[in-house]
Symmetry: C2
Subunit: 82 residues, 2 copies
């Protein structure tokens, strides 16, 4: 068994409105950061897991995301393994 560190970023799909992100963007504009154009807010998970090998870790992470961590109807995710 090896130990892997995974970082999972979850965001709303591009086609889904993100009012929280819009609010943060407006707050940045009102603080003077006029150069910011687009901002989306999401969730972030840092997971440590034990698995036989990298492929097994990836498979487990994909399952975990699709069963629990991500609402795949409105959200998309990216996994980075190290």
């Amino acid at each position: 068994m090896k130990t892997f560190n995974a970082k999972v970023n979850v965001t709303l799909k591009k086609s889904v409105l993100d009012p929280q992100g819009q609010t943060v963007l407006e707050a940045l504009h009102s603080l003077g950061y006029k150069g910011t154009e687009n901002l989306r807010v999401g969730k972030y998970f840092e997971v440590t897991l034990n698995a036989q090998d990298e492929n097994s870790a990836k498979t487990q992470l994909k399952e975990m995301c699709e069963k629990l961590l991500v609402n795949t109807v409105i959200e998309q995710y990216e996994v980075h393994l190290s």
Copy 2:
């Protein structure tokens, strides 16, 4: 002016308890993912910003994080620019 895409990951500092992460971890265990050992939940921001150069973008992002996006008393952050 150039356009930069930044990804900002915000997590609670190691020394701060993360009851939300603990709950997600227990949920994963009860779904059968016994190999997961540690899990922390955080926030994730995807920002598009215009800046003169990479250094200026980095400086602006650092300021935005410290003024608005991150509570530096209990949270830490990582910025990835591309």
